[in-house]
Subunit: 473 residues, 2 copies
């Protein structure tokens, strides 16, 4: 990588001359804050282009001036990919003004949208055409689809519909040199050259700026069914998933594992959230079905519950009798991250391991952490994908600051164990700036060398999101 | 790209010394033949390694000596990606000895297999674990899974299960410099860096040699249903697909359009293949269902047929009453390519367009070709994916040689029209060597420049499959 220059006043003035009047401004503080408060960002200005041509002008000038550019979506990323605190002062690039739905093709199950559209608005646009855009995650009211693509976001429906990567057919993007790639195809099959689309998806704004996407829609399930089932163990939860798949086929949209600790945090800090059980069970599973016309999810869930009871895979449970009850169950699941915030974690881990190794991982991680001290663990997440949020909290009555000296060791223990299970230290949140060291430690060295070669090839001056994913040169 | 050297005797001797005794030999003629006889290949020798380490030794030496290496799978590719006839004499690299199933994980729906395994053997291994590996295509008895991955093969089940790309979780591969990338993960979610897996998949052996893959399995459908339905037009076929999706949900595994011309070619040249209709209908659709326990495909197909009759979407049809009848219907579909071979096409096109534009494309292409002369068109394929095999044949009583002067123009007309519909000139077969010019003509220039930069970054000497996908430097 070559030497980068700060975004100077001269640079900003020249850039302002390229763009309409109100395209550059001082960034509001929210653009410089990392959601979990891990570090403070810096930026000379924020650019707010209205078109792919304007994004191209910005990158072209930054490329020639060797000025760092940090792309900013909804700002909900949890690994610092959107917040730069080191190196020459960068330009922030928000796609927030590019939020048009460019087209909906219900017959093709395709929607074309600009990168700045809020995820919830994309979902609503699909629903307006009687279709489903299945990406669903806690931050959907703020997150932008461009950021979801840049980070290959996951969420609760991955089990059935895949990650964001799997929901994208084509991209329009601006490469680091300012060139516009028009890859906005609606095709299901196109084998004409290297897969630039998937290379940009998940590259966290380091290889190009996604400006629009052709997204896959799905038929809208006609009937939803939701259950919260008490399971004796994570092993039983995995067997329950297999049984559910045998009985219900592809209709299972979500399969979420919840630990007692999460329910207790919600009870302690969000007492208005309704809890379905008098005593929080050690483990439970949220199961969600979306079925076509002519199928009855409630009866499927009752059959599943009965067969699971016979096999000792569940001991208790509630099956939603109405949309309101379904929403109540989901609300409980969705408020766990907020309750976690109230408690204040020592360390959070967004890990995945092969599904069959999950029970073993949970046991071993609990034992290893117990040796380090008295802590509370809230382990929850997308069991069907092998993806757990493994978050570590202070013992009752103590503060996270008490554990500050242990924090590095805690994450090391968890991530070493993940590596031992051939798992991933970042299942759905990405690498950003917070996990660059983890990638260097746990990543395959040959893959890392290939990544550096690709970064150098597409962004020879290293202007795009320097320090994210790969250490700045 | 730098200058390449032919695989000399000195190079082969040094290579032989690195490898076990019988690892190098003269290639049998079949390794130098392109299946449609478009050109004749050349090679100094064929290497048959038994392990990823041996593949690494071969590429390391070729990289240092700047000797071209052409990876060879099952040899069934239709675009010349495996047959090199130009440039310094290359080394062929067959993965045929690396065909072990390394592991099956039914609980995780994962199978790990080496690249040289025959696709049909991979399907059988999955079935042995009561699972489905859904990739299915005419050449499955010969094609190797490594070649399927390198070309991102499609086939008849893409509608439901996706392309080969969508069926792969992880790869082991050797990069052009001989380094081994261990990316053989069984994880469903892993956001730790650039998507090297999808970059190698579909790169047709130009960026790395895939040596093993972790593949996704699916639950094995318990009940199959097959129908061949006569539709009045391609428009009606598209509406029929929408109706089928509404009624049957995700259970539709294949939806194939067949034109009268294909049925007639089969009747003329393969008279033993049973034809279900006395008079070949202008258009018909093969619909295949795979349903879980408790569902009855025959009754679903009858309901679909009745509702489609009411809406004038079908006029006649047969619904298989037994596995034998289902196989008979499939046999008819699967013998169309063989019948085509007997007739001898002037030009074949593996194209895709957005699904809603298919009827328009078929009409316009037919009119445009009629202006060029008297020809027969066999248009068939994977309608649900927007993918048609649009093959052009001589008029009855004439030979393909009569049309030789027209061949370039025919393909130009078809591909120009595809481009006008924002389609692809290679939906599932890839670029290989036969379509390099098409990629240069129709491909996005910014994407092409990015592809060349990536090729240069990962294969600076250009040793891997030179002349495939990108013109040799």
């Amino acid at each position: 990588m070559t030497h980068l220059n700060a975004a100077s006043s001269a640079f900003l003035e020249a850039l302002a001359a390229d763009l309409p009047a109100d395209s550059l401004r001082q960034p509001e503080p929210r653009y410089l804050e990392e959601p979990r408060g891990r570090h403070q960002g810096q930026a000379a200005a924020i650019a707010l282009p209205r078109s792919v041509q304007e994004v191209s002008s910005i990158l072209r000038r930054a490329h020639h001036a060797r000025v760092p550019v940090v792309p900013y979506g909804g700002g909900t990323g949890l690994v610092g990919g959107q917040v730069s605190s080191e190196g020459p002062l960068p330009l922030l690039l928000s796609l927030g003004r590019m939020k048009a739905i460019r087209g909906i093709y219900p017959q093709e199950n395709v929607l074309i949208v600009e990168a700045g559209a809020i995820l919830a608005d994309v979902q609503a646009a699909a629903e307006g055409a009687d279709r489903l855009f299945p990406l669903s995650l806690a931050a959907e009211g703020t997150a932008q689809i461009g950021g979801n693509l840049a980070t290959n976001a996951g969420g609760v429906n991955v089990l059935r519909y895949g990650n964001t990567r799997d929901l994208c057919l084509g991209l329009e993007a601006v490469l680091p040199n300012g060139e516009i790639w028009n890859g906005l195809t609606r095709l299901r099959k196109d084998n004409t050259g290297y897969d630039l689309r998937n290379l940009l998806i998940g590259s966290e704004g380091t290889l190009g700026v996604i400006t629009a996407a052709a997204l896959k829609l799905a038929p809208r399930p006609r009937h939803q069914g939701t259950a919260l089932l008490v399971v004796p163990s994570p092993e039983a939860a995995i067997d329950l998933l297999a049984l559910a798949r045998d009985l219900i086929g592809e209709g299972i949209s979500a399969f979420e594992l919840i630990h007692k600790q999460g329910l207790q945090f919600v009870a302690d800090h969000l007492p208005d959230i309704r809890q379905p059980f008098d005593t929080a069970p050690e483990w439970c599973v949220l199961l969600d079905l979306g079925l076509p016309e002519g199928r009855d999810p409630e009866s499927d869930l009752i059959t599943l519950f009965e067969q699971a009871m016979e096999r000792d895979l569940v001991s208790d449970g509630v099956i939603a009798q109405s949309l309101t009850q379904s929403q109540e169950i989901w609300s409980l699941r969705e408020h766990i991250p907020e309750a976690n915030k109230h408690v204040g974690s020592i360390a959070s881990h967004d890990i995945s391991v092969p599904i069959s190794l999950i029970p073993d991982f949970i046991t071993r991680a609990g034992m290893a952490l117990a040796k380090l001290g008295d802590m509370r663990i809230n382990c929850f997440g997308h069991l069907g994908d092998g993806n757990l949020h493994y978050n570590v909290f202070p013992a009752k009555g103590r503060s996270r600051d008490d554990y500050a000296p242990l924090r590095g060791e805690i994450s090391r223990v968890v991530h070493d164990l993940v590596a031992d299970c051939e798992g991933s230290f970042s299942a759905e949140h990405g690498v950003g700036r917070l996990k660059v060291g983890e990638l260097e430690r746990y990543g395959d060295p040959v893959k890392l060398a290939a990544m550096r070669a690709i970064k150098q090839a597409l962004d020879p001056h290293g202007i795009l999101n320097p320090g994210a994913v790969l250490r700045a040169g």
